[in-house]
């Protein structure tokens, strides 16, 4: 029997039971649709967080403390102050390193600008040169601080403080230790893309405000930072600096490796590597959620199988007629498989459309950039077709075994 004929006859059977076929297909549509929607949403979120970084042009190596997340995916970074001034100087001696910008926060409770105040902000230390080295950020007004008593605020903080902050204005920061200081705003900085939790900040020079100290294994007391941003002269030096710094922090010479907790590691990564690591976690989470959505697909598959079995029972007489006029077992199998296949394909196409549509709406609502997960769409279509075939196999086999004598005798 020609495949075209099977398609024609099967299509007739499908359209002959429109409601039933529709309900069957809905199972697949929802299954595949939810997988695609999650993939769109996950991909868009990842794109939103990571996509704006010009990873290729960032000439920096990050030294951070990382550890496992309890019972979850991936890793988290810790801000324990373990990188001492001694370590900073050691890294700065590596060939190709332009300078090291130690990162740390100064605990603060409130920032005030005139009558506007906010409590949700962070005071970070920075080196003036870091602002110009960062290719994904720029000053919207002013410039980096040059002296003690000056500070850079980012656009988010400027917004929190009523907006329209101009260079030269005063802000007052209340630190957790009770001291209050006034800063003159030297510049307002916009980072095109920021990792979650780094926005809404005041940037001040480390000296004289940052004074977190630790006791080193050498018996001395030293200022220590949460992480280090190592700026490199040129992109060519990046990997050499990365491996040299990595070696230093695992050589036994650094203070940090003696201070780091046993369950945490010192990670020395290029920006690219860090983003890849984060991206991997996003993928894992997305796949995990889509896997749960896959249960819906399984239910859809069972639905198809169930409907097909009912359909075989209902059409026993028709199967008998077809056998009487010369249909072989394989013709009958073909007919029912094609029917299941058509349901699977329709379900897959509908699911992809539903998934992209839902994803588009959710992504638009969340303000993420829209992405089209082509690879997952292709996978989903094949899964739909596979689900159709697998769930059609048993009913088709049952149909092929119908005894035409019995079938024709039925009323």
């Amino acid at each position: 029997m020609r495949i075209r004929e099977s398609i024609r006859i099967s299509w007739r059977a499908i359209t002959g039971h429109k409601l039933r076929s529709t309900l069957t297909t809905i199972g697949i549509v929802i299954g595949i649709g939810s997988i695609i929607a999650f993939m769109v949403l996950g991909g868009a979120f990842e794109e939103d967080v990571l996509g704006g970084f010009d990873t290729e042009d960032q000439t920096l190596v990050l030294v951070q403390t990382q550890g496992e997340v309890d019972g979850g995916f991936g890793f988290q970074t810790f801000s324990d102050p373990i990188y001492t001034q001694n370590d900073v100087e050691a890294i700065e001696r590596i060939d190709g390193v332009e300078f090291v910008d130690p990162d740390g926060t100064i605990p603060a409770s409130q920032v005030r600008r005139g009558s506007e105040t906010t409590v949700s902000f962070t005071v970070r230390i920075a080196k003036p040169a870091s602002f110009s080295k960062n290719v994904s950020g720029s000053f919207v007004a002013g410039e980096a601080f040059a002296d003690e008593g000056e500070a850079v605020i980012d656009t988010e903080l400027a917004e929190s403080l009523g907006g329209n902050v101009s260079v030269g204005e005063e802000i007052r920061v209340t630190f957790t230790d009770g001291t209050r200081r006034s800063f003159t705003v030297s510049g307002i900085y916009a980072a095109e893309n920021q990792a979650p939790g780094t926005g809404t900040s005041v940037y001040v020079p480390a000296d004289p405000y940052y004074n977190v100290t630790v006791d080193t294994h050498r018996g001395t007391e030293a200022i220590a930072y949460s992480s280090l941003t190592v700026w490199v002269d040129s992109i060519e030096d990046l990997s050499a600096v990365q491996s040299a710094a990595d070696e230093y922090f695992h050589s036994g010479e650094s203070d940090a490796e003696h201070l780091v907790d046993d369950d945490k590691q010192i990670a020395v990564q290029t920006f690219d590597a860090l983003l890849a690591q984060v991206g991997e976690i996003f993928d894992q989470v997305t796949i995990f959620i889509a896997g749960i959505a896959g249960i819906a697909l399984l239910v859809g598959a069972i639905g198809i199988a169930n409907i097909m079995i009912v359909s075989v029972t209902e059409r026993t007489r028709e199967i008998g007629i077809m056998k009487a006029v010369g249909a072989r077992q394989r013709d009958i199998v073909q007919l029912f498989l094609v029917e299941a296949l058509i349901l699977g394909i329709i379900g897959a196409i509908g699911g992809v459309m539903l998934g992209i549509g839902t994803g588009y709406l959710l992504v638009g609502y969340a303000g993420f950039p829209m992405i089209y997960p082509i690879d997952w769409i292709v996978i989903a279509v094949f899964v739909g077709i596979g689900v159709g075939i697998v769930s059609g196999l048993y009913p088709a086999w049952r149909a092929a075994r119908v005894d035409p004598i019995e079938a024709l005798r039925r009323e």
């Binding site: 029997m1 075209r4 008998g320 007629i321 072989r328 077992q329 035409p404």
Partner: protein
């Protein structure tokens, strides 16, 4: 079409034959549906099979129609022994060599008249254009040239049976097997259907018809009577005195499907 290769030399041995055929069903105890039946159908012959319910008529039809295989003996169609064939080959043979006409019509409900007639050709891999042309010709032949695209439920009983007859002719079969073809029809429509069978007979087609009704059976060349799975007698119709339209066995109302044996 497919039948042009058939030579006349087989006329002597019969184009379809059952030789010493037995068929036993096991339903708690063995039921001998057929016992050592030998029947030869000459090319162009019209044979009626009569007998009470449970006499083996349907079993004989199923065997000759390649829906079933005998426990003993052989079924030969156009010189080929059916017993040696695989299931798929038997299905093929059935599609090409046998045209079924049933009491309950057995049309595919979702296919149009023309598509129903085409169905045996679909399974025989006849190309689409030829199929459509032939379906049209056959439906015109049975007087339904204006009903090609009607669904079975848009046709009367007599029209449905005509579609079924057209379908039976689709692959130019060696044998037309008709099981109570007038059983579900009123007597007037039944007569029209029998006229159609007469015409097919006159065209030289080989027909075997199972019936309860003597007056229907008497339109055949000869009447084979089965009793308890055995051949009771074979009468040439020209030898017997025509009788009125009486029912042979009042236990079998003609509207009831013949489902005694094997059920």
């Amino acid at each position: 079409m497919a039948r042009t290769d058939r030579g006349g030399e087989r006329t002597g041995t019969g184009v379809v034959a059952a030789r010493n055929v037995s068929r036993t069903f096991f339903l708690g105890e063995p039921v001998h549906a057929l016992r050592d039946v030998t029947l030869t159908l000459e090319e162009g012959s019209f044979t009626a099979v009569m007998g009470p319910s449970g006499s083996g008529k349907s079993t004989l039809m199923n065997l000759l129609g390649c829906l079933d295989t005998p426990d003993q003996g052989t079924i030969e169609i156009d010189g080929r022994s059916v017993g040696d064939l695989s299931g798929a080959e038997r299905a093929r043979l059935r599609g090409r060599e046998i045209g079924f006409v049933f009491q309950t019509f057995n049309l595919m409900p979702r296919l149009t008249a023309a598509e129903n007639v085409s169905l045996p050709m679909v399974f025989n891999d006849v190309v689409d254009a030829d199929r459509r042309e032939r379906a049209r010709t056959l439906l015109e032949r049975v007087g339904l040239g204006d009903r090609l695209d009607h669904a079975p439920n848009e046709l009367s009983g007599g029209q449905r049976q005509r579609v079924a007859i057209a379908r039976a002719l689709a692959n130019e079969p060696t044998l037309i097997l008709a099981d109570e073809p007038t059983g579900n029809l009123d007597s007037e429509t039944g007569r029209e259907i029998m006229d159609l069978f007469d015409e097919l007979h006159a065209e030289g087609r080989t027909i075997l018809m199972v019936t309860h009704e003597r007056h229907i059976a008497e339109r055949a060349d000869r009447i084979v009577t089965l009793v308890d799975g055995q051949l009771e007698r074979i009468e040439d119709v020209s030898d017997v005195v025509p009788s009125g339209p009486t029912v042979l066995d009042d236990r079998d109302a003609p509207t009831e499907p013949d489902g005694g044996e094997g059920a």
